[in-house]
C-alpha cells in the first residue's frame, strides 16, 4: 500500500516556510520618510508665546503704515459738489424728471467752487453718480465686446443688447446695448479766477489718458466707428464726441464763454461719422462698469490751483438721474501715492495695529496673571508660594484641615496631591479647570 500516497509529496508546510524565507520578503514595504509619514516638518503651535510676539510685530508694522496712509490721504485735496438739485430751477423742483426730459430747456448751470487748499496738477475731475446700478446683471451683459473690437463684427450683436441692438431700419447699432446707450452726458467746463476780482481763465480739461491703455489698444477697435448710435426714438445718454477729445479744448472754451447750443449733432448718421471707438475715452471709462452704484472719471486738468481760488464750473445738466433719485456731483481731486482721498485704509491699518497691541497685551496679562503660582526661594533657601495662590485655593475648593503634598520638579512643574480630612485623596474633574490649575506652571523660581 505504500505506493498509494507515494506521489503525494506535495509542498509541505515546512518547505513553504523555507521558500518564504529564501525568497526576499516580497510584500515588505520599503522604508521611505514619505510613506512612513516621517518627513521633516516644522510643527507650529499657536500658543500665546508665539501669538503675542506676532501680534506685537503686526501692530508695530501696521501703525506706521496706517499713519503713512492717513498722511498720504490727507495730502490729497478733494472738492465735491452735488448739483443735481441745485441745477434744477426752483419752479421745476416738483418734477425734476420732466425738467430733464424737456429738451427745449437750456440745462446749463454754473457753480462756483472754492479751492480749500493748494491743488497740484494733475487735478482729476470726476462725476459722481449715486444709486446707479451699473452692476445690474441685465445692464452689464447688455453689450457686445466683439462689436467694439472688430469692425467686421458690427453685426455680432448679442441678444443681451436688446432693446438697443438694431436701429429702426434694421441695421445694427454700434456700440450696441444698454451700457453704451446710457452713456453719461453731463459736461463740465471750468474757469478759475485768480484772486479776488482777478480775470477768469478757462481751464483746459484733458480727456485723453483717462481710460486704460488696454482699452484703447485692444478692447476698443481702431477702425470701429459708431453707427446708428443714439439714433432711435428713445435717447438714453450722451452722444459720442464727433471730434477727438484731446483737441477739444477750444470746444470747452466755447461752452464756457458762449451760450451753449444743444446741437451737438446728429452727424453720426452716416457710416463713418465721428471718431473711431479707440479714441472715445469717455465711452471706455463708462463701459468699464463700476463695481458699486457710484463714480466715474471725467477728465484731467493740468493746472495748479491755489488755496482760496474760486472755480466756476459750468455744468450742462443733461443726464437723467432724477427718475431713480440718484445724486450727481462733480468732484475735483488731486492724486497721491495711493490715489484719491480715502482715510479708510490708513485708519483701518491703525485700528488693526492698535487692536493687535491691545490683544497682545491682553493675552500677556491673561497668561501672566491668571493661574500661575509664583514660587520663590527666600534667603534661607526655603520655598514660598506667592502669587496665584488664592486662585488655586478657590479653584480646588480647599478647606481647612486638608492635607496637600506638593512636589516641585525644580523647574516649572509643581504637583499637588490633595487629601481631605477623611484621609481620602481628592480627585478633581479637571475638564472644567484650566491647564494651570492642578500642576501650576511656576515662574520666577
Amino acid at each position: 500500500m505504500s505506493q498509494v500516497n507515494s506521489g503525494a509529496a506535495g509542498p509541505s508546510a515546512g518547505s513553504d516556510v523555507a521558500a518564504a524565507t529564501a525568497s526576499t520578503k516580497r510584500n515588505k514595504p520599503q522604508y521611505h520618510a514619505f510613506t512612513q509619514q516621517q518627513l521633516p516638518a516644522c510643527k507650529p503651535i499657536l500658543s500665546p508665546h508665539m501669538v503675542i510676539p506676532v501680534l506685537a510685530f503686526v501692530g508695530l508694522v501696521f501703525i506706521p503704515i496706517g499713519l503713512a496712509c492717513i498722511a498720504a490721504s490727507n495730502k490729497v485735496v478733494e472738492v465735491v459738489y452735488r448739483y443735481d438739485t441745485k441745477c434744477v430751477p426752483g419752479n421745476m423742483l416738483h418734477n425734476k424728471v420732466a425738467y430733464i426730459q424737456n429738451a427745449s430747456i437750456d440745462k446749463t448751470c454754473t457753480i462756483v467752487l472754492k479751492v480749500p487748499r493748494d491743488m497740484k496738477r494733475p487735478i482729476f475731475i470726476y462725476y459722481q453718480l449715486e444709486k446707479f446700478y451699473q452692476n445690474h446683471r441685465r445692464y452689464t451683459t447688455s453689450r457686445s465686446d466683439m462689436q467694439l473690437r472688430d469692425p467686421k463684427q458690427a453685426s455680432a450683436i448679442t441678444e443681451f443688447c436688446k432693446p438697443e441692438a438694431y436701429a429702426a431700419n434694421g441695421s445694427p447699432i454700434v456700440p450696441c446695448g444698454l451700457v453704451a446707450w446710457s452713456l453719461f452726458n453731463d459736461t463740465y467746463s471750468f474757469a478759475h479766477r485768480r484772486g479776488r476780482g482777478g480775470h477768469t481763465e478757462a481751464l483746459t480739461v484733458i480727456k485723453s489718458g483717462i481710460s486704460w491703455r488696454s482699452d484703447r489698444g485692444h478692447v476698443f477697435g481702431n477702425h470701429v466707428f459708431p453707427k446708428n448710435f443714439q439714433n432711435s426714438s428713445l435717447v438714453g445718454g450722451g452722444q459720442l464726441d464727433p471730434t477727438k477729445p484731446v483737441s477739444s479744448s477750444a470746444n470747452f472754451r466755447a461752452f464756457f464763454l458762449l451760450p451753449s447750443s444743444s446741437s451737438v449733432s446728429t452727424m453720426m448718421d452716416g457710416d463713418c461719422g465721428g471718431v473711431q471707438l479707440s479714441e472715445q475715452e469717455d465711452l471706455m471709462v463708462w463701459m468699464r462698469t463700476a463695481a458699486l452704484p457710484r463714480f466715474r472719471l471725467y477728465g484731467r486738468v493740468e493746472a495748479d490751483l491755489g488755496a482760496g481760488e474760486l472755480l466756476a464750473v459750468e455744468v450742462r445738466n443733461n443726464y437723467n438721474s432724477y427718475s431713480f433719485a440718484g445724486k450727481k456731483a462733480v468732484v475735483l481731486s488731486t492724486s497721491g501715492l495711493l490715489g484719491g482721498r480715502n482715510a479708510f485704509l490708513g485708519r483701518a491699518y491703525v485700528v488693526t495695529g492698535v487692536a493687535c497691541f491691545v490683544l497682545a497685551l491682553q493675552l500677556t496679562l491673561l497668561c501672566l496673571d491668571d493661574f500661575i503660582l509664583k514660587i520663590y526661594y527666600d534667603k534661607a533657601g526655603d520655598l514660598w508660594l506667592s502669587r496665584g495662590w488664592k486662585t488655586f485655593f478657590h479653584e480646588h475648593h480647599l478647606n481647612a484641615g486638608d492635607l496637600l503634598i506638593c512636589t516641585f520638579d525644580g523647574h516649572d512643574l509643581l504637583t499637588f496631591k490633595v487629601f481631605s480630612i477623611s484621609h481620602c485623596r481628592v480627585l478633581y474633574d479637571t475638564s472644567g479647570v484650566a491647564e494651570g490649575g492642578e500642576d501650576p506652571q511656576v515662574s520666577g523660581a
Binding site: 512612513q36 499657536l46 500658543s47 503704515i65 445690474h136 458699486l292 463714480f295 427718475s323 493675552l363
Partner: protein
C-alpha cells in the same frame, strides 16, 4: 491494470471510510431531479448536443468587471450623479446653458467635467485591473477531450458544458466538474479550497464507483453519460444530481463535485465532466459584493451639505424677493425708474410687469450663483485623500509582519477616519488574541500529570500574585526565551524527562502511556506528507489535531501514512538507542466524526494483532459520563488535572478507548451502515444514535492540555487600547473558565475588578433542564438571566456617579440567547456598556453578529476583529471589520474592511492611523466648508450691492477655478499629511484617541464654528475691500476701481485668506504643505497674469487687469496686506486663547512636546491620568500592567 484490480478489492472497505465524507444526498433529494430548480441536463462528452437540444448554457468566460466598453459611460455616470451634490451640480450645470446663467456655461461645466472625469478615470482604472485578472484567468490552459480519446490543450474560456477535461496536479479547476476518475484506483483526489472558503487543509473528493476505471485518455472515446442535476446556486456544500451510466442511475453528491478555483493537490491528474461554466459556477454565484460601509463622518457630511443647501436656498430666496421688489419698482405708471435698464422693454427675466415670474427665474440664477457654497471638489478630494491614507496604512512598515510576509491591507479606504472613532472592539479569541497555533504542553496520563512548561496564563497569574516563577529568571518577561539545546518543534512544547526520549518505558503505567499516544496518533483526520528525507509533516483540519499528531510523533508514535482503509504508524522502539522503526498498520474501520453537538470523535480500528479498538477523544463534559465503571480508575486525578489545566488557560480533551469484540462490532457496523444508507430526514440522528451506542463503557486513558498561545504583544496592545478608552469585548466559543483565564492573561481582567457573571449553570436551572419541558425551561432561564442582569445593574453605578471600582461582565452563550431577546437586550446593553470588559463565552457565530448589532444600537462605532469563517457575520455587521490574515485562511479577510497580520497591529492602526485619519478628514471637511462659505458669502454680499440682480463679483473663470486650482491642493495636503502629534506620541498618550471617540473635532459646534469663521472672514474681506476702494482713485493715475478691479482685489484677498487660514490650521508643516499653500497663492497670480494676457475675447473683464491696473497700484498691495492680516487675527487670537485656557488633549501634548517634555514618562502619566479622570472615570479597563507601572512609579518616588 493489475494495480487497478488489486485495489478494486479494497474498495468495498473504502465505503466504510467515513460517514462524514460520504454523500449526504438522500433519495428524497434525488427525486427532485427534473423538477423546478433541478432541471439541468448535461450530456457529458457530447458538448455540442446541448445546442441541438435547445439548452443554452453560458460560456466559461467570466467577467468580474463592473462595466463593459458600452456600459461604462452611462453606468459610471449614473453612479456619479447618484450623489446629491453631484446631481445638484449637474442640474445647475444644465441650467447654465440657458439664459438664466450668471456666468458662462463653459466655466461652470468644465470643473464639473473635470471632477467627474477624474472619478471616472479612477473607476475605469480599477475596472481595467479587474479585466486584466479576468483575462489571465480566461486564457489559462486545460486539456479537453476532443473525441476518440485524444485530449487537446484549450483555453479556459472555450470550455463548454459537457466537456470532459483532464486536470493535472497543482492546477486549478476551470469550471465546476463532476469527478469521474483520478490517478488513484479508488478515484479519490485531494483538493485545496483555499480560494473558496480559505481553509488550507486538503479535502478528499471521491468519484463514483461506476466511473472509476476511466483512468486513461483512451477510455473516453465513445462514452456518453448523461448528468442531471440542480440548477446553478450558491450553496458550496450541497449538490444534488444523478448520472445515467449505461442505463443505470447513480446519485451524485458534493463528494463528486470539484469546484472552480479550487486546486488539485497530491493527485497526478483527474478526469471530470463540466457541469457548470462561467457565472453558473458555485464560486461565481457566491461572489457577492461586500456590503458597502460608509463612515459616520461621511454621513454627517451629507447632512452638512443639506444644511448648506438649505442656507443656499434661503439666501437665494431672500435675494429673489428683493430682486422682485426692485424689479417691480422699476416701472410705475409707465414711468421707468431705472430707465437705463429699459424696464419698459424687457425680457421675461427682468420684466417689472411680471415680477413674480422674474423673481422665480432669478431664484434659479441665484441657485447657480451661490453653488459655490457647496464644494464641488469635496467628494473627489476626499476620495483621493482616502486612497492616499490607505496607501500610508498599507505601506506602514511597523504594521508589517515579517514572519508571514504580510503587510496591513486596507481593503476599503472608506473607513479610514472611522478607525479613529472606535468605541468598542469586539474581538474573537482564537486566532485573534491567540495564535491559533496549538502547543501540546501538558498531559495527564493514568492520573499522573506530565509537562513542566509554564503557560502564559500562569505567568500572568503569578505576576498577579506577585510571585516570581523560577522559570522567569530574566526580567524582560515577554521576550522569547532562548532556544533550548534541541530545536523547538512547532506545536509541541511538552517538557518532561519522565516520558521524553523513550523514558516512558520506565514509568509504572507504561501500557496506558503507550495506548495514550497510539490513540493520539490514530484518532484524527489528519493527512501526513512524507518528504524526501523521510520526515513527516501533517495537514490537519484544526491546529489542535496537528498538535496531537505532532506530540505523538515526538514521543515515538509517528503517524506515517493514511490510506483509504488503513493508518500506518511508525513506532520507535524505546528500549533501543539505535533508531529502529516498527511499522504498525491499523485497519481503519470507521471514523465517527467530530461535531459540535457530539463534542467528541472516535475511530474504530483493527490492530495488526486483530483486536478491534475504539479510540475516542472528547470534551470532559461528555467523556466522563461514558466511562465504564472499570475505566474510572484515574477519574478523580484526571478531573483535578483538567481543572488545573483550564485554570491555566489550556484547552483540554479527555482520551479513552474501548476494546470491541467482533460480534459487537458487526452489530454496530450493520446498524451504522443502515443509518448511513437510509435517505430519511432523520438520517443524521440515526447515525448519531448508532455512534452513541458504541461509544459507551470507555476506559479512561488521560487528558491532554493544549495551549493556544497568546499572540505576540497582545496584552500590551489591549493595555494601550484600554488606556485609549476603547472597550474591548471578547466573544469566544471557549469555556467560561478558559475565557476568564485568557482574559487575565491578556490583561482584560484584573484582580481588583468586580466580575459580574451571568450564567445558567445555576443548580435550579440545571435541575429544571433535566426534567422540565422546553417552555418552562425557557421561561425560567429568561427570568434568571433578567434577574442577574438587574442585579448587575444595581451593582454598577451609573456613569454619572463616580467610582474607582471597575467591573467586568462575563456571560455565557446560553444566557446570551436570552439576553439578546428584544425585551431584555437594552438592559443587557446598559449593563455591558457600564462595564470595562465584557466577555461572552460559548457564543455562536450568529450570536457574535447579534451582539455586534446590539452594540451598534448605542450609536458608538464598533470594530470587530476576527480571523475565522465564524467571525464573518460579526465583521460584516460591525462598522469596521478587521480580519486577521493568519492561519485560518482568507475568509475573514475577504469579509473584512482592513486586514492585518497580528492583533497587536490594531494598536497602531487605531491609535496612530485611525487618529490621524479621523483628524485629517474632519479638519479637512470643516475647512472645505469654511473656504466655500467664505467665498460664497462674498458673492452674496456683493449681490446686495448689485440689487440682487445675480451679477457675480468675479470673473467667470475666477469663480469656477476657485475650487479646482487655488484652494484644493492645500486641503488635500492637509488631509493626507497633517499630524497633530507624532506617531510615537500617539502611542504614548493613548488617551488622545478619545478625541475621535467623542467626536470633538467634527461636532456640530465645531463645524458651525468653522462656517461662522467663514462668514466673518467674508464680511471682513468684502467690507474692507469695498470701503478701501470705494469712491476715490485707487492709483496715482487717477483711475477708479471698476468691477473688474474690485473683483480681482477681493478674489486675491479670498485666496490669501483661505490659504493662510489653512497654514494656521496645519500642525505639521512639511515641504509639501509649503509648496501647496504658497504655491496655490502663486498660481493665482500666475493665472491672473496668464489669463490677463489672453485676448480680451476670452479673458473678458480680466484682460490685463493685474499687470495694468493692480500691480502698479500701491493701494492694491496695501489692501491685500491689511485684509489678510485683519481677517486672520481673530482666529489667531482665538487659537491662542483656546490653546492656553481651554486646551484639548492634543494641544497639551503639543505643548509638552514644545517644552521637550513629552517623552518624559512622568509627564505622560500626569497628563494621562488627568485626562482619564476627566473623561471616562470608570469606563476604561485599567489593566494589571498599568497598576504595576503605577506602583513602580510610586516606589521610584
Amino acid at each position: 491494470m493489475a494495480r487497478g484490480s488489486r485495489t478494486m478489492q479494497k474498495l468495498k472497505l473504502s465505503a466504510l471510510y467515513s460517514f462524514a465524507l460520504c454523500a449526504k444526498g438522500s433519495t428524497e433529494d434525488q427525486s427532485k431531479i427534473g423538477t423546478a430548480g433541478f432541471s439541468r441536463v448535461v450530456y457529458a462528452n457530447d458538448p455540442d448536443r446541448h445546442e441541438a437540444e435547445g439548452f443554452r448554457y453560458p460560456r466559461n468566460e467570466v467577467s468580474t468587471t463592473k462595466y463593459s466598453l458600452v456600459t461604462f459611460l452611462p453606468k459610471s455616470l449614473f453612479e456619479q450623479f447618484r450623489r446629491v451634490a453631484n446631481f445638484y451640480f449637474l442640474v445647475s450645470g444644465a441650467l447654465t446653458l440657458t439664459k438664466l446663467a450668471p456666468y458662462s456655461a463653459v466655466s461652470a461645466l468644465l470643473p464639473l467635467f473635470f471632477v467627474i472625469t477624474a472619478t471616472m478615470v479612477k473607476e475605469g482604472v480599477e475596472d481595467w485591473r479587474r479585466k486584466q485578472q479576468d483575462h489571465e484567468l480566461n486564457n489559462r490552459i486545460v486539456k479537453v477531450h476532443r473525441g476518440n480519446g485524444s485530449f487537446e490543450e484549450t483555453k479556459w474560456k472555450y470550455i463548454k458544458i459537457g466537456d470532459v477535461i483532464k486536470v493535472e496536479k497543482d492546477n486549478f479547476f476551470p469550471a465546476d466538474l463532476i469527478l469521474l476518475s483520478s490517478n488513484y484506483p479508488d478515484g479519490i483526489c485531494y483538493v485545496e479550497t483555499m480560494n473558496l472558503d480559505g481553509e488550507t487543509n486538503l479535502k478528499i473528493k471521491q468519484a463514483l464507483e461506476v466511473t472509476l476505471d476511466l483512468q486513461e485518455d483512451a477510455s473516453f472515446g465513445n462514452l456518453k453519460p448523461i448528468i442531471k442535476c440542480e440548477d446553478p446556486n450558491a450553496n458550496l456544500y450541497s449538490f444534488v444530481g444523478i448520472v445515467e451510466w449505461k442505463g443505470m442511475q447513480h446519485p451524485l453528491s458534493p463528494q463528486q463535485l470539484l469546484l472552480r478555483d479550487s486546486k488539485l493537490r497530491n493527485t497526478d491528474y483527474i478526469y471530470g465532466a463540466v457541469i457548470f461554466t462561467g457565472h453558473d459556477t458555485k464560486v461565481m454565484q457566491n461572489a457577492t459584493e461586500p456590503p458597502s460601509k460608509r463612515s459616520k463622518i461621511e454621513k454627517k457630511m451629507d447632512k452638512i451639505i443639506y444644511v448648506l443647501m438649505f442656507c443656499l436656498l434661503a439666501i437665494a430666496t431672500l435675494g429673489s424677493v428683493f430682486f422682485g421688489i426692485w424689479t417691480k419698482d422699476d416701472l410705475k405708471n409707465g414711468k421707468a425708474k431705472r430707465w437705463y435698464l429699459r424696464p419698459d422693454d424687457s425680457t421675461v427675466f427682468y420684466d417689472p410687469k411680471r415680477p413674480a415670474l422674474a423673481s422665480f427665474f432669478h431664484l434659479l440664477t441665484a441657485l447657480m450663483l451661490y453653488n459655490y457654497f457647496i464644494p464641488i471638489s469635496l467628494y473627489i478630494s476626499i476620495e483621493m485623500v482616502k486612497i492616499l491614507q490607505a496607501l500610508f496604512i498599507n505601506r506602514d512598515i511597523e504594521m508589517y509582519h515579517e514572519e508571514s510576509d504580510k503587510p496591513t491591507h486596507a481593503r476599503t479606504s472608506n473607513l479610514n477616519e472611522e478607525l479613529g472613532q472606535v468605541d468598542t472592539i469586539l474581538s474573537d479569541k482564537t486566532g485573534t488574541l491567540t495564535c491559533n497555533m496549538m502547543e501540546f504542553i501538558k498531559c495527564s496520563i493514568a492520573g499522573t500529570a506530565y509537562g513542566q512548561s509554564v503557560t502564559e496564563v500562569e505567568k500572568a497569574m503569578a505576576l498577579r500574585k506577585g510571585v516570581l516563577l523560577d522559570d522567569e529568571i530574566e526580567p524582560g518577561g515577554h521576550k522569547e526565551k532562548q532556544i533550548d539545546e534541541s530545536p523547538h518543534v512547532k506545536g509541541f512544547s511538552l517538557k518532561d524527562p519522565r516520558i521524553m526520549d523513550g523514558n516512558w518505558i520506565h514509568e509504572p503505567n507504561k501500557d496506558v502511556i503507550r495506548d495514550f499516544f497510539r490513540l493520539l496518533a490514530i484518532c484524527h483526520t489528519c493527512i501526513p506528507e512524507v518528504d524526501e528525507t523521510d520526515k513527516v509533516s501533517y495537514e490537519a483540519e484544526s491546529p489542535d489535531e496537528a498538535a496531537f499528531v505532532i506530540a505523538a510523533r515526538e514521543l515515538g508514535f509517528e503517524f506515517y501514512k493514511r490510506a483509504q482503509t488503513s493508518i500506518v504508524i511508525r513506532e520507535r522502539d524505546p528500549n533501543q538507542h539505535v533508531v529502529d522503526y516498527q511499522y504498525r498498520k491499523y485497519q481503519l474501520l470507521n471514523v465517527l466524526e467530530f461535531s459540535s453537538s457530539r463534542k467528541r470523535m472516535s475511530v474504530i480500528v483493527k490492530e495488526p494483532e486483530g483486536k478491534i479498538l475504539l479510540f475516542s477523544k472528547g470534551a470532559d463534559s461528555v467523556m466522563f459520563r461514558r466511562l465504564a465503571p472499570a475505566g474510572k480508575k484515574f477519574e478523580e486525578e484526571t478531573k483535578r488535572h483538567i481543572n488545573e489545566y483550564s485554570d491555566s488557560g489550556l484547552r483540554t480533551l479527555v482520551l479513552a478507548y474501548r476494546v470491541l469484540d467482533q460480534e459487537e462490532y458487526e452489530k454496530f457496523a450493520a446498524k451504522f451502515n443502515t443509518a448511513k444508507i437510509s435517505g430519511s430526514a432523520d438520517r443524521d440522528e440515526k447515525i448519531e444514535e448508532a455512534a452513541d451506542s458504541i461509544e459507551q463503557d470507555l476506559l479512561l486513558l488521560g487528558a491532554t492540555a493544549v495551549e493556544d498561545k497568546l499572540q505576540k504583544g497582545v496584552p500590551e496592545c489591549i493595555d494601550k487600547l484600554a488606556h485609549a478608552g476603547i472597550k474591548i469585548w471578547v466573544l469566544t466559543g471557549d469555556k467560561m473558565e478558559t475565557a476568564i483565564n485568557i482574559g487575565f492573561a491578556c490583561s482584560l481582567l484584573r484582580q481588583g475588578m468586580t466580575q459580574i457573571i451571568i450564567t445558567l449553570e445555576a443548580p435550579d436551572i440545571i435541575a429544571l433542564e433535566k426534567n422540565g419541558d422546553k417552555y418552562s425551561i425557557a421561561k425560567a432561564s429568561k427570568q434568571s438571566v433578567m434577574d442577574q442582569i438587574e442585579d448587575g445593574i444595581k451593582q454598577v453605578p451609573t456613569s454619572s456617579q463616580s467610582s474607582t471600582e471597575s467591573f467586568a461582565l462575563i456571560i455565557d452563550g446560553k444566557s446570551l440567547t436570552y439576553a439578546l431577546e428584544d425585551d431584555v437586550k437594552f438592559k443587557f446593553l446598559d449593563l455591558a456598556l457600564n462595564c470595562a470588559s465584557v466577555i461572552c463565552c460559548r457564543s455562536s457565530p450568529k450570536q457574535k453578529a447579534l451582539v455586534t448589532r446590539l452594540v451598534k444600537h448605542s450609536n458608538k462605532v464598533t470594530l470587530a476583529i476576527g480571523d475565522g469563517a465564524n467571525d464573518v457575520g460579526m465583521l460584516q455587521e460591525a462598522d469596521i471589520g478587521v480580519g486577521i490574515s493568519g492561519v485560518e485562511g482568507m475568509q475573514a479577510v475577504m469579509a473584512s474592511d482592513i486586514a492585518i497580520a497580528q492583533f497587536r497591529f490594531l494598536e497602531r492602526l487605531l491609535l496612530v492611523h485611525g487618529h490621524w485619519c479621523y483628524r485629517r478628514i474632519s479638519v479637512m471637511i470643516c475647512y472645505f466648508f469654511y473656504k466655500n462659505v467664505t467665498f460664497g458669502v462674498t458673492i452674496f454680499l456683493y449681490e446686495a450691492f448689485a440689487s440682487f440682480s445675480g451679477k457675480p463679483a468675479y470673473n467667470d473663470w475666477f469663480l469656477s477655478l476657485y475650487n479646482v486650482f487655488f484652494t484644493s491642493l492645500p486641503v488635500i495636503a492637509l488631509g493626507v499629511f497633517d499630524q497633530d502629534v507624532s506617531s510615537r506620541l500617539c502611542l504614548q498618550y493613548p488617551e488622545l484617541y478619545q478625541e475621535g471617540v467623542q467626536n470633538v473635532l467634527f461636532s456640530w459646534r465645531r463645524i458651525l464654528g468653522w462656517m461662522l469663521n467663514g462668514v466673518i472672514n467674508a464680511v471682513l474681506i468684502f467690507f474692507f475691500c469695498t470701503t478701501a476702494l470705494k469712491d476715490q482713485a485707487f492709483r496715482q493715475d487717477g483711475q477708479v476701481a471698476g468691477l473688474d478691479a474690485l473683483g480681482a482685489v477681493m478674489y486675491t484677498c479670498v485666496v490669501w485668506v483661505v490659504n493662510c487660514q489653512m497654514a494656521l490650521s496645519v500642525n505639521y508643516f512639511t515641504i509639501i504643505q509649503h509648496i501647496f499653500i504658497w504655491g496655490s497663492i502663486a498660481v493665482w497670480y500666475l493665472f491672473l497674469l496668464a489669463y490677463g494676457a489672453v485676448d480680451p475675447k476670452y479673458s473678458t473683464t480680466a484682460y490685463m487687469v493685474f499687470i495694468e491696473q493692480l500691480a502698479p497700484s500701491l493701494s492694491y498691495w496695501l489692501v491685500t496686506l491689511l485684509v489678510v492680516l485683519a481677517t486672520l487675527i481673530p482666529y489667531f487670537c482665538y487659537a491662542a486663547i483656546q490653546i492656553r485656557f481651554f486646551p484639548m488633549f492634543h494641544n497639551k501634548i503639543q505643548w509638552k512636546r514644545y517644552l521637550g517634555k513629552a517623552e518624559d514618562p512622568e509627564v505622560a502619566r500626569q497628563l494621562s491620568s488627568r485626562q482619564q479622570s476627566s473623561s471616562h472615570p470608570r469606563m476604561v479597563g485599567i489593566s494589571v500592567r498599568r497598576d504595576g507601572k503605577a506602583m513602580e512609579v510610586d516606589k521610584g518616588n
